[in-house]
Structures are given as structure tokens and as C-alpha cells.
Amino acid sequence: MSIIAAAAATTSTAPKPLIDWTALGQSVVFSLVIGIAIVVVLAFSIRLHAAGQKGDGSTKVLENLGAWLGVIVVVAAVAVGIWLILHKG
């Protein structure tokens, strides 16, 4: 048995287009939106955390809360990343 004949026996043979333009377009748009969103959230989180170190009273609490919210968003993004790894196309 040739090696690829063996492969054909173990995999789906559904035809795929040469270039899946829809998947390609989605890849580009999702990459840009998600990537920029994560960096922006983390940058704001760092800014708020730094401000929280200097502020006082309720301002300090709010800024630290904002910072932690940013961290949670980034951690959630990592969790989504692991999910994507487990469910890749």
C-alpha cells in the first residue's frame, strides 16, 4: 500500500477548494480585531495599574479594579487560544 493510499484510508476525502477565500478573509479580520483588542486592553490595564499606584481613595480602587479587569480579559483570551488549539480546522 502506498503511503498516501494509506492516508486516504484514514482521512476524509471531501473535496476542498484550492483557496478558501471565506476562511482566508475571516482569518485576516479575526486576527486583526482580536490581536489589537488584546493589546489595547492590556495596555489600558497597565496604565490603570500604574495610575492606581499613585492615586488614593476611591480613584485608586477604581483604577486597580480596571487593571484587574484587563488582566482577566487577557487571561480569558489565553483560554480562548487554548480552545482554538483544541478545535483547530
Binding site: 493510499a5 484514514t10 488549539i85 483547530k88 480546522g89
Partner: protein, 387 residues
């Protein structure tokens, strides 16, 4: 056990060994993708970085078992691919990987493997057995896209990171982005383990099926998963320091906001494209991101170094093709089983020679972050224009 069974098993063992060797080179070649920027910005110490990357590559190998069961599918006529063709293809990919490692140039291991298999197939059955439109859609187009998407994303992300944190003291800014880099770099390493270790698992599994060692519907044996994960993790742990230096110090000068923006751009591009069924080269995505992070930060980019990488990427396919074709031609001229054994010996010899050459000016964890101007090593480089 009869003579025929023994010689057939010899080829099988050689293919498995060569596939694991390819996996190993893939690991040390691609350590830079995940960790070069983190090492350059100080987010990770060099040895810690490669240790983390090695563990995550190993974990990644076990994390997802959707093994890529076809080799160069849509690029060569599938029914014609045999164990000697795969062996020659692996030889082409390994030699290209080791050569570009010696030159300190990041390049795609997948493209090298495709080139090697195409070359071997050309030598075996001629041009009619190659589907050239597949080469365009799986090699050329993804390469252009990887640079464009990751570069644009990293440029915008870096600009925004600096813009938003303008006025923030350096200490908390650097500490925050360095901490975040540990997560983003780890994500790339994990994704690399799931993608690249499985390529080799696919090769070995198919070799076992073709040899009737396992059935076509059997699951990938655990020892295959473990050995592939271990090989890529070992390669990663040894660290392709030459490429780490190029990616981390050679293209542009990196600060932690750039490092995080570049790694996040790489991770999101790799993961979303892979999830949506349009996988892009990890190496080209990461290189594009580093270039973009330099542009977005408004710091000089050493375009001569980047140009050298572009040349290497253009050469990856034809060079691996040439070696794959030559390897197949030699083993075919000598004669089947002995031919494969002889070319395996030649492959080991060439790799050893390149390794010995690399020892003349070794790059190690101790000097990977030293000041270094790669334009000094370029014969036609712009004289320090980027500095």
C-alpha cells in the same frame, strides 16, 4: 523473519528515524518563533525560555490528536508517494533546516518538507506527478499573507501599546508587558507543539500503515505521539540560538511593549488561521510580527537582514526540492534499500559537517543577547543605515 521483511523494516526504521530527526530540527529551528522576542526584552532568561517552550511543545503534542495524515496533500499525486519518496523529502527538509539554522535565518520547516517531497516526486515520476497550483496555494500565497497580516497587525498593535501607555513610568510599563509576554510567548509555543509535532506523527503513522505494521483505521500509537513530542521538545530545549539572536536582536531593537504586541499578533494570527482551516507558517508570521513591531514603534528596522530572510524564504522551496530530488536520484541509482541506507549516511554526514562549522562561532545562551549588528555579516549591506 524473511529477508524481504527485514529490508522492508530497515526502510521503515530509517523513515521513522529520519522523521524524528526532522522533528528535532523543526524544534530547534522554531524555538525562536515563540521565545526570541521574550529573550530579547528580558521577559524570560534564555535557558528558562527554551525550557518553557520545550515543555509546552511536549504538552502541545499530546493536546490535540487531529494528526495531519496526508503529506503534501494537494501538491503531489497522492497514490504515487512511497516510503523512499518520503525519506528523500525529509532529507531535503532536514538539510535546508540545518543550513538555515547555521546561517541564523528563520525559515518554514513545512515549506521545506513540501519542497523536499516535491523534489523527490519529480525525480521519481516527473513533473506530471506534481500539482503546481497546490504549491501556489500552500506555499507562495501563505508566505505573502503571513508577512502582510502579521506585519500590519503588529504595527498597529505596537503603535497603540506605546500610545496608550505614554506617560506611564518605565518600570511598571516594562514589568507589565514582560509579564504579559510570558503568556503570549507560551501560547505560541503551545500552538507550535500541536501543529508541528503532529506533522511528524502523521508521517510515522502513515509509514506504519503503509508497512502494514498497524491498520489504516488504528489510532496513532502512543509511542509515536510520545517520541514525536519528545523529539520536538528536545530540539526546542537545545534552542536554535543563532536564529533566536537574529529574530530577537537582528531585525530591530525590541522593548517589552513591542515584544508583547509582536507575540500577540503572532499568536492570534496563527491560532485564528489554523482554526479556520488556513494555516500560515509560524516562522513567517513571527518574523512579520517582529518587523511590524519595529515599524509600529518607529525604531529602525534592519531591512537588509529582513531582505536576506525573504531571499531564504524564496529559496526554501527550490532548495529543498533540489536536495529531495538529488537524494532520491542517488538512492535510486544505488538501488532501493542500500540506496536509502547510503543516503541516510550522507545526510548524517552533511548535518555533522554543518554542526562542526557552527562551532567556529557558537551562539549560546550566554551571548545570545550581546550587542550584535548582523549587517556587518552581510556582504552588500547598507553601512549601518538601520542603526
Amino acid at each position: 523473519m524473511g529477508y524481504n521483511t527485514r529490508v522492508h523494516n530497515l526502510i521503515l526504521y530509517l523513515v521513522i528515524g529520519t522523521a524524528l530527526a526532522f522533528d528535532f530540527t523543526n524544534g530547534f529551528h522554531d524555538t525562536a518563533n515563540a521565545m526570541a522576542t521574550s529573550i530579547a526584552t528580558g521577559a524570560f532568561k534564555p535557558k528558562t525560555a527554551v525550557s518553557v517552550a520545550a515543555v509546552l511543545n511536549l504538552v502541545g503534542a499530546f493536546l490535540s490528536l487531529s494528526v495531519a495524515a496526508t503529506i503534501a496533500s494537494g501538491i503531489v499525486t497522492q497514490d504515487l508517494v512511497t516510503l523512499p519518496v518520503i525519506f528523500a523529502g525529509l532529507a531535503g527538509a532536514i538539510i535546508w533546516n540545518v543550513s538555515t539554522w547555521y546561517a541564523g535565518i528563520p525559515s518554514s520547516s513545512s515549506h521545506a518538507l513540501i519542497g523536499g517531497v516535491v523534489g523527490a516526486m519529480l525525480a521519481y515520476k516527473g513533473s506530471a506527478a506534481v500539482q503546481w497550483n497546490g504549491v501556489f496555494s500552500k506555499v507562495l500565497l501563505p508566505a505573502i499573507l503571513a508577512i502582510a497580516v502579521a506585519g500590519a497587525l503588529a504595527t498597529a498593535a505596537t503603535w497603540l501599546a506605546f500610545r496608550i501607555t505614554r506617560g506611564v513610568d518605565d518600570a511598571p510599563k516594562t514589568a507589565g508587558f514582560r509579564l504579559a509576554q510570558k503568556g503570549s510567548a507560551s501560547m505560541i509555543a503551545l500552538a507550535h507543539g500541536t501543529n508541528d509535532a503532529q506533522k511528524t506523527m502523521g508521517i510515522i503513522t502513515l509509514a506504519l500503515v503503509a508497512n502494514n505494521t498497524i491498520g489504516a483505521t488504528d489510532a496513532t500509537p502512543t509511542w509515536v505521539i510520545a517520541s514525536c513530542g519528545t523529539a520536538i521538545a528536545l530540539g526546542t530545549f537545545l534552542g536554535g540560538w543563532r536564529i533566536i539572536r537574529t529574530l530577537g536582536k537582528g531585525i530591530t531593537d525590541l522593548e517589552s511593549p513591542q515584544g508583547f504586541a509582536a507575540e500577540t499578533s503572532s499568536a492570534t494570527t496563527i491560532l485564528t488561521s489554523s482554526y479556520l482551516g488556513f494555516p500560515l507558517s509560524t516562522t513567517q508570521v513571527c518574523t512579520g510580527s517582529v518587523v511590524g513591531s519595529g515599524v509600529g514603534a518607529g525604531v529602525p528596522v534592519r531591512w537588509a537582514v529582513f531582505g536576506r530572510m525573504i531571499v531564504a524564504w524564496i529559496l526554501t522551496f527550490p532548495a529543498a526540492l533540489g536536495v529531495g530530488a538529488l537524494t532520491y536520484a542517488i538512492q535510486d541509482a544505488i538501488g532501493g534499500n542500500v540506496g536509502v541506507a547510503v543516503t541516510a549516511g550522507l545526510l548524517a554526514l552533511v548535518c555533522l559537517m554543518i554542526y562542526v562549522l557552527s562551532r567556529r562561532a557558537p551562539v549560546t545562551p550566554a551571548n545570545v543577547n550581546d550587542d550584535w549588528d548582523p549587517t556587518d555579516e552581510l556582504p552588500a549591506a547598507e553601512p549601518a543605515a538601520a542603526n
